[in-house]
Amino acid sequence: MAKIKKSARPETAIPTASMSDIAFLLLLFFMVSTVFVSEKGIPVRMPKAKSIEKIPRNHSATIYVNKNGTISIDDFVVSIPDVKYVMQKKLAEDFNVLTCFRTDKDTNYGIMSDILNQLREAQTLRVYFEAKLER
């Protein structure tokens, strides 16, 4: 009876020569895509919505409003009547400024309405209500 000889298995090895290439590639990707967030803001729980669109980042000014009604712009707590002056300054710096609200979902709408009126007076009329995508 003929013996069936098993062929010797080829040794498997992961090639490591190009590992650093991969590492550098990933590194470059993350270095380029990293944006260091300049403002801390205040913690808010945003509402959820479905028909949301992307907000252009380079022109946006973010207003944080938490559920106690604290308003924060650029990490400064501002009162409602001051929103107008802050936003007028922003408009002077960037003509295409758009306001982006990061408001807690349990905030009273009255505060939001007051801020919106301030924005109207400041002539910063493009507004986004930031929301999370509802799945």
């Binding site: 990293t34 479905k50 979902k105 349990d106 905030t107 709408y109 109207r120 007076e121 929301a131 999370k132």
Partner: protein, 138 residues
């Protein structure tokens, strides 16, 4: 006679290069936060300074939606006033807007109502294709 020693050729050790690369990689991996903002957009009307003429809207071109402080929605279209559940809002508005593209939707939210109710309603209105939306409060 003094004989000079042969100089060692200087070289940068490359053995630890991948270690350095991975270290940096881990740093950027852990600090990267993809800050993609998404939200509902709307353009506010300019503040009236008293010089503009007020345009009176015809009743048939105006649909009023009220949100009370508990998030209940009442809708008034023409002379009909009725309560509408949030789930059906999109369907109803979609029907109204396709029938009359000039329809202005006035979204009036109670001052004591929660922001999320307004966002939810605005979301439904925009999903329904309403383009003329007005935000107000009492």
């Amino acid at each position: 006679m003094l004989r000079r020693k042969r100089k060692d050729l200087g070289g940068i050790p490359t053995a630890s290069m991948s270690d350095v690369a991975f270290l940096l990689l881990v740093f950027f991996l852990s600090t990267t936060k993809f800050d993609i903002k998404k939200g509902l957009g709307i353009v506010l009307p300019a503040a009236s300074d008293g010089t503009q003429k007020k345009v009176k809207l015809k009743d048939e071109n105006l649909t009023k939606i009220w949100i009370d402080q508990d998030g209940n929605i009442t809708m008034k279209s023409g002379d009909v006033e009725r309560a509408v559940p949030m789930i059906e809002l999109q369907k109803i508005i979609n029907k109204i807007v396709t029938e009359n593209p000039d329809m202005v939707i006035s979204l009036k939210t109670d001052r004591k109502s929660k922001y999320q109710y307004m966002v939810k309603a605005l979301d439904k209105l925009q999903a329904a294709g309403a383009e003329k939306i007005s935000l107000s409060t009492n």
